[in-house]
Every structure is written in structure tokens, then in C-alpha cells.
């Protein structure tokens, strides 16, 4: 995958979410993003370590509109692949990319989670004018 372009998109999404929230609050002079939590699916094609390296290098690069990300800490939660067996309905965690139902041994299944890269939460520090 292309972790740097993913991180660029991530930073834009973080700023957008922070701004949206601050607009709802009103009277904010500065917003500092403190923590970012993402979920990285095992089948997303994204390498968490490379995302982490790129984030530390690129944070702060897209700051504008009073939102700063230069001190943001990134937490990456690995999302295992979860699948549902089409034959027996059993839901199971896929280990080592072996898409085999542990109950009925069928390989006919549907992925429920683990294919995506999600921005889950952000913690922001707001300076409110009094």
C-alpha cells in the first residue's frame, strides 16, 4: 500500500473532524489534536508500522484553520479478519489468511471486518475564549 498518501488523507480527515466539532462549540481560538486512534484491518493492505513512521514525519504538515496536529499521538489498533461461513453461519477469526470455517470446514465465507482502515476517534484540546 501507499502509507504516505494514506496518512495525508488521514490528516485531512482529522482536521475536518476537529473543525466540525469546534464549529459546534463556537468561541474556539485554537484546537490542538492530542490523540488519534485508527483501526487497521489485517486485509486492508496497510502496514501499521509504516503508517506510524509516516504519521510521525508528516503530522503538522497539513495544519490550517487553527488546528494543529504536530503533537498528536497515533494509536493503531489492529483489526483481525472476521468472516461468516455461508454454509453454517458460524462467525470466526481468520488466522494466517486461511479462510476455513472451523466448524464445518467450508471455504465459502464472507468477510465481515478487517478489510478497511478506519479513523475511529480523536482527542482534541480546545482553547475557549472566556
Amino acid at each position: 500500500m501507499h502509507e504516505r498518501s494514506l496518512v495525508r488523507l488521514l490528516l485531512h480527515q482529522i482536521i475536518e473532524a476537529a473543525l466540525k466539532n469546534s464549529l459546534a462549540q463556537g468561541n474556539c481560538s485554537e484546537i490542538r489534536v492530542r490523540k488519534v486512534v485508527v483501526a487497521c484491518g489485517e486485509l486492508s493492505g496497510v502496514e501499521p508500522e509504516l503508517v506510524s513512521l509516516a504519521f510521525n514525519e508528516m503530522r503538522g504538515s497539513t495544519d490550517h484553520s487553527g488546528v494543529t496536529t504536530d503533537q498528536a499521538e497515533l494509536e493503531i489498533r489492529r483489526q483481525p479478519i472476521l468472516a461468516r461461513c455461508i454454509e453454517c453461519g458460524f462467525e470466526f477469526k481468520v488466522e494466517d489468511f486461511e479462510f476455513l470455517c472451523p466448524t464445518c470446514r467450508s471455504t465459502n465465507n464472507q468477510v465481515l471486518a478487517g478489510e478497511d482502515f478506519h479513523l475511529q476517534t480523536i482527542d482534541i484540546e480546545l482553547d475557549n475564549r472566556l
Binding site: N21, S29, G45, F99, E115, N128, L130
Partner: protein, 249 residues
């Protein structure tokens, strides 16, 4: 004076949502025009261009097809295919995969006919193209007998996201340590419903089976567009308008 407060915001955004939506819209739009979109993926040199040449020889002028072909540089593949199809070469510069924007741009440069089939020959690479939905109706992964039968387990996402495995260069099976059974077994651990076709494009072996498979898949698309619109993990359900089959199959 100012006061500082910390807020915790639940965002829960899929970073690829906009791209997924665009791919689903493209897929639906192509289906509505009766155009079946095939994304051909493989490692470099597995025989994607040769398979398309063989397909053209088998079908002759009976099918309306177009090709978009991706490479980092040169027009070599487009030049090979130009005698058979309307074709546009998509040169990616340094990029190791095609993206939908490039495909849409290439399609706009082709003669504006209703095509029955649009073949997208992706950049030779078993890694990155697996993560990029080009709005195709089927993803077809090629493995040649010269590159080893151990590839599916090493590149699981590519095989998980493909609907058909084409084994190419079967004329070399007697000369290389390659077992089609081992390859298929390895691939089906990852994608249980993966279909398989063996071909030798140079001798046209298996090409009629491949072409029949394409015809059948396109007919299924024309009969049930919803099935194909949902392929590619759409972020939301798309309303699929009634199918349009305005020209002869």
C-alpha cells in the same frame, strides 16, 4: 483570557469510503450501458496482453471490446493490442497500480461506443492493485507456470479479491516444477469460490473456455445488476436503475 478543555470525538470514518463509492457508481454506470468491466491482474510477464490477443483472435469482430492498459512507461502493450481493439495506454509514471481516475480518463479518450466488454490490463504487480477497486465487475488474476505455484499464499489479498484464476503458459508445464493442483489448492484456502481456467494463449488452448466464461458472466450482469453493483464492498447500497440492453449480445 482563555480556558483549555479536552474533548473526545467519535469519528468512525472509513478512509477509503469516497473511493469505494466512486468505484460502485462506475460499476453501476457501466452495467447500465451493458459494458462488462474486467480487471486483469498478475505479476509482470504472466501473459495479460497475450491473453487479450488470443481473446481477440477467438472472437474476431463479433464482440465490441475496448482495452485500457497500464504500465509505468512505454506504449508497447497498447501497440500490440491496437490491431485488435480500440486501446489506450495508461502510463502511471512511477505508480505501481491503476486508480479509477486514470481509468475514467482513459475511457473518455476511447471512441464513445457502447462496449460489451472493457478490459483493464493493470500494472504487473500482485500487491498494490489488490487494494484498488477500479469499478470492475470481475477481477481476474493470472498466474503463469513459470512463476511458481506458491503465489496465492504469499499474496493473499490479490487472490481473496479475485473471482477467477487463469493459469497461463500451460505449454511449459512439462518443463517447469509447477503443479496446477497445488496452486488451486493454495488459492482456495484463501478464496473458496475462486474459479480456475487453464490456458496457453500462443496455441489458443483454453481460450474458448475463457471466452465462454466471460460471456456467461456478462449475461449474469445483464440479468442481475444488483449482484455486481454490490461487489467491491460498497459503502452504502446503491439504487440500481433498471437494466438497459440496447444492443445485441
Amino acid at each position: 483570557m482563555s480556558q483549555s478543555t479536552i474533548q473526545h470525538i467519535e469519528v468512525h470514518t472509513d478512509l477509503a469510503e469516497a473511493k469505494k463509492r466512486a468505484a460502485c457508481e462506475f460499476r453501476t454506470s457501466m452495467a447500465n450501458q451493458g459494458t462488462f468491466v474486467v480487471n486483469l491482474v498478475s505479476s509482470p510477464g504472466a501473459g495479460k496482453t497475450s491473453l487479450l490477443e488470443a481473446t481477440a483472435k477467438h472472437w474476431g469482430a463479433s464482440h465490441q471490446c475496448a482495452v485500457l492498459v497500464g504500465d509505468l512507461a512505454t506504449h508497447r502493450d497498447a501497440d500490440r493490442l491496437a490491431p485488435f481493439f480500440p486501446v489506450r495506454q495508461l502510463t502511471t509514471g512511477g505508480a505501481c497500480h491503476l486508480e479509477l481516475e486514470l481509468v475514467a480518463r482513459g475511457l473518455a479518450e476511447l471512441p464513445q461506443l457502447p462496449y460489451q466488454y472493457l478490459f483493464i490490463e493493470n500494472v504487473g504487480n500482485l500487491v498494490c492493485p489488490a487494494s484498488h477497486d477500479l469499478g470492475e465487475h470481475v477481477r481476474v488474476v493470472l498466474v503463469s507456470t513459470t512463476e511458481g505455484d506458491d503465489k496465492p499464499g504469499k499474496y493473499p489479498k490479490m487472490f481473496r479479491t479475485s473471482q477467477l484464476l487463469v493459469v497461463t503458459k500451460t505449454d511449459l508445464l512439462n518443463y517447469v516444477p509447477f503443479s496446477v493442483d497445488n496452486l488451486v489448492q493454495d488459492a482456495r484456502r484463501i478464496q473458496g469460490s475462486l474459479e480456475t481456467i487453464e490456458v496457453c494463449s500462443l496455441s489458443q488452448f483454453g481460450i474458448s473456455i475463457w471466452c465462454d466464461w466471460l460471456t456467461k458472466q456478462r449475461e449474469q450482469m445483464l440479468q442481475n445488476q444488483t449482484l455486481f453493483a454490490e461487489r467491491g464492498n460498497c459503502p452504502t447500497q446503491l439504487a440500481v436503475p433498471p437494466k438497459v440492453t440496447s444492443f445485441a449480445r
